[in-house]
């Protein structure tokens, strides 16, 4: 909790606006990578897997730096991030079996 009290006095970025330029650059690089993977033909499973990983990387960059969540207190981070895991589990548990059952029926 001592840690949290420190962060109350808003953590300013030492580098000014530079961090946003850096994040912007990497978001562009990842987007170009995504387009590149689609344009060269790779196996379908590899394509889907790598695209999902790249999308999650972009999401993490946006949430952590643009939305500033990295600099917030951990209790807020947990309040935002934990529901996402539950959401993923619930969606997979309820929709997944129905969607996938066609493979055994086909």
């Amino acid at each position: 909790m001592e840690h949290g009290a420190e962060q109350l006095t808003h953590t300013a970025h030492p580098g000014g606006y530079r961090i946003y330029g850096v994040v912007w650059f990497w978001l562009l690089v990842i987007t170009l990578l995504e387009l590149g993977i689609v344009l060269v033909h790779v196996p379908r499973a590899l394509l889907i897997g790598s695209l999902l990983v790249l999308a999650l990387m972009k999401a993490a960059l946006i949430i952590a730096y643009f939305m500033h969540l990295r600099y917030e207190r951990l209790s807020l981070v947990y309040a935002v991030v934990t529901p996402m895991f539950f959401l993923a589990i619930v969606l997979f548990a309820f929709i997944g079996p129905d969607a996938l059952s066609v493979f055994s029926r086909r």
Binding site: M1, G4, Q7, L8, H10, A12, H13, G16, Y17, Y20, G21, V23, W24, L27, L28, T31, E34, L35, I37, V38, L39, L47, I48, L51, L52, L54, A55, K58, A59, I62, I63, Y65, F66, M67, H68, E72, R73, S75, L76, A79, V80, P83, M84, L87, L91, I95, G96, D98, A99, L100, S101, V102, R106
Partner: protein
Amino acid sequence: MAHDVVDQDRVLASDWGGGRSPFAVGWPKLMMWVFLVSDTLTFAGLLAGYGALRLSLGRWPVQAEIFNLYLVGAMTFILICSSATMAVAVSAAKRGDRGRVVPYLLLTALGGVLFLSGQAYEWTKFIHEGARLYGNPWGVPQFSATFFIITGFHGGHVSVGVLYLLATAARWALRRIQPESVEIAGLYWHFVDLVWVFIFTLLYLI
């Protein structure tokens, strides 16, 4: 018994004892976060429904032959740029760099308008090719249905966001709002960008 009293004192002295935010943010910002989490559930539901439909149908048109990936790539680029300018506007408001806030907010809104123009063009082209909410020439009705609903829902968020940004810029120029309000508008705008990351990946690329 003595133990309980000590524990109670400790809890009351901690951040969860009441009288202050355990999240160390003001309530407006906390409420925006709560709204964004709930909005995530909406979009996740839509995208999960799309995924389930697509998996269970087994066949799906080749999107790369129907959509112009360069246009969609450009729209993605614009949205990422507008997110970056928004981050600069928020940062400027918080560090007291007053003059930089309005130009960057307007630049962000311009990015939103450009994105919407791209989407309007794409929808027009798609509809001219025969795509409707309930059917399309490519033989899988769910293809255009999910496309219109998901991109439409996102486009609605962008439209509201542009209005929100313009209102924020005007109110900042009139000195009616605190930096925190700019930050909250920023959270919304970044969320719109965030949702597009997944729509771009799931609807166009995969």
